[in-house]
């Protein structure tokens, strides 16, 4: 009774090797990732310091810090988020909660999905045409942030819609059946229970906006701009600005004889900025999740 047959032993061997292969693949992606980050930090170590963050580049960008670029990126990312988040969330609410399932809604949904796949260089041209030239804003932080916002809207809409539809239908029915309007239902029940999913959308928007070069290069970012060191209000909305992604591109490809540590330092700061924002959002999400039970 209950003895192993050769066939069972064979199955168990296959099971074991399958598991090993999958584990190996997982390790295979994680190790290079860790190596890259370690290597970057190691290469950047000569320049990494508070001064590097808070001073401007000197000697034709071959020395000094990255303050104007760091601040520029923060401006661009935060502004694009301020524009894209409300618009995207409201559009997602309309699409998920109000829109009837007809051809118009289906077209819009399809458009949103496809927009997410449009290459950023195309968005760059659109931003140049629509905001810089047609709307007459000129090359500026505002125009660049608007371009980034348009580029990241589909991401926010998609993830917000997902988090809205994750709220069980029975909650909505409970509300409607005591005579609540859709908006009362959304505000009272649906939104409070879908915030965590929305945060995911914001993380993705921030990561993407911070890393892009093309859309801002055409619409508001410049190679070099001197601003007051350490002053967080140094840029105005209609100023042009430096940005980390663009700065990295410049000192790696356009300026000769840049010490190696500078681009690596810039990359590390860019990466940490994105990771820091992600960490905050993930923390918030965990906190919100822990309070939600149904």
């Amino acid at each position: 009774m209950f003895q192993e047959t050769p066939y069972i032993r064979h199955k168990l061997r296959v099971e074991k090797s399958a598991k090993t292969v999958f584990l190996l693949m997982t390790v295979l992606i994680i190790i290079p990732l860790i190596m890259i980050v370690t290597y970057m930090v190691y290469k950047a170590s000569p320049v990494l310091s508070m001064d590097f963050l808070l001073t401007k580049p000197t000697n034709g960008m071959r020395q000094g810090g990255i303050w104007p670029a760091l601040l520029g990126t923060l401006y661009l990312v935060l502004m694009s988020l301020c524009i894209a988040a409300p618009v995207g969330v409201m559009a997602a609410i309309y699409l998920n909660e109000y829109a009837k399932d007809n051809w118009l809604t289906r077209t819009v949904n399809l458009a949103v999905i496809n927009l997410a796949g449009v290459p950023s260089i195309v968005h760059a041209l659109f931003g140049l045409g629509a905001f810089v030239i047609f709307a007459g804003i000129g090359r500026s932080i505002l125009a660049a942030a608007l371009t980034l916002a348009v580029m990241t809207l589909p991401v926010i809409i998609t993830s917000t819609k997902e988090s809205l539809s994750a709220v069980p239908m029975s909650f909505r029915e409970a509300c409607w059946n005591v005579g609540a309007t859709k908006w009362q239902t959304i505000r009272g029940i649906v939104l409070p229970n879908s915030v965590s999913g929305m945060l995911t959308g914001f993380i993705l928007e921030v990561s993407r906006a911070a890393g892009e070069t093309a859309p801002i290069m055409f619409t508001g970012a410049v190679f070099y701009k001197a601003i007051a060191e350490g002053d967080v209000f140094a840029y105005g909305l209609l100023d042009q600005c430096m940005a980390l992604s663009m700065h990295l591109f410049t000192i790696s490809t356009q300026v000769p004889n840049v010490p190696e540590a500078l681009p690596y330092g810039t990359a590390v700061v860019l990466l940490s900025t994105v990771l820091a924002v992600n960490a905050i959002s993930i923390g918030l999400r965990v906190y919100i999740r822990s309070r939600k039970k149904w």
């Binding site: 029915e173 409970a174 005591v178 609540a180 009272g188 029940i189």
Partner: protein, 258 residues
């Protein structure tokens, strides 16, 4: 006046189509005020559909056509001047799966009040009273009076279902519709909910859909038997179970088809 029948719900030649599928066929029925009316019939015969007509939620599924007349408290609910919000305030619904909202017990009970009044018109004392009164009516007060802040969704199923009933009461509904309210509950919980329904008779008109013949017999004063979208028989419950006037009713009650 006193001889006049006192009906909460009256329908006349009510037919309903989902696309071209006819789910209800000329249903005419009068449902007494303050009584519990059981709605029985085999699966797919249109019980849920009929129930959902009474607070007009069927309309949410596109492609639904209704003809005929439904009067609640003698008012035709398809009249142009009927507000769906007011209608649903006085015709509440309890579902098969308890669906308390993911907010505190207290907020669950006052949810309706909050929805239907301006914030400044609601006094704390008034809300507190409403909560106590509603929870007492569903026999939850003693169990939950110290746990008003816990989430409704974390209660036991029985308590959840009772809470869903309590949620309707502060709005002083005329009719409470229940669609198989006990089918997710165990025997003990079912008993408890039935007992609470008895406590509500006289004050509210209750229409309950059930597949459980014994339950229909235990809780209802009157019974409606439906088959394929048509109303076959509507009498006092004891008459239906002891002495059905249609062969089909008898067959169904005796479990010859279901």
């Amino acid at each position: 006046m006193s001889d006049e029948p006192n009906y909460s719900i009256e329908t006349k030649d009510l037919s309903l189509f989902y696309g071209d599928f006819q789910a209800l066929n000329k249903v005419s029925v009068n449902i007494n005020h303050g009584k519990i009316t059981g709605l029985i019939g085999p699966s797919g015969c249109g019980k849920t559909t009929l129930l959902r007509c009474f607070n007009r939620v069927n309309e949410r599924f596109g492609n639904v056509t209704t003809t005929g007349e439904i009067k609640i408290l003698s008012k035709n609910i398809y009249d142009d001047d009927v507000s769906l919000i007011q209608l649903r305030k006085s015709v509440g619904m309890v579902f098969q799966r308890p669906n308390p909202l993911p907010i505190s017990v207290y907020e669950n009970v006052v949810f309706g009040l909050r929805i239907h009044s301006r914030r400044k018109d609601l006094k704390k004392t008034q809300l507190d009273e409403a909560v106590e009164k509603a929870l007492r009516e569903v026999y939850l007060w003693d169990d939950l009076k110290d746990q008003l802040h816990v989430k409704g969704t974390t209660l036991q199923l029985e308590q959840q279902q009772k809470l869903c009933i309590a949620r309707l009461l502060p709005l002083k509904p005329e009719v409470i519709l229940m669609d198989e309210p006990c089918s997710a509950l165990d025997t003990e919980a079912t008993r408890a909910v039935e007992e609470l329904m008895h406590g509500l008779t006289g004050k509210y008109t209750i229409v309950i859909v059930t597949h459980n013949m014994a339950q229909a017999r235990r809780v209802s004063d009157e019974c409606i038997f439906m088959l394929l979208g048509e109303l076959v028989e509507h009498t006092r419950t004891e008459d239906m179970f002891l002495n059905p006037s249609h062969q089909k009713t008898a067959d169904y009650i005796e479990g010859r088809y279901g």
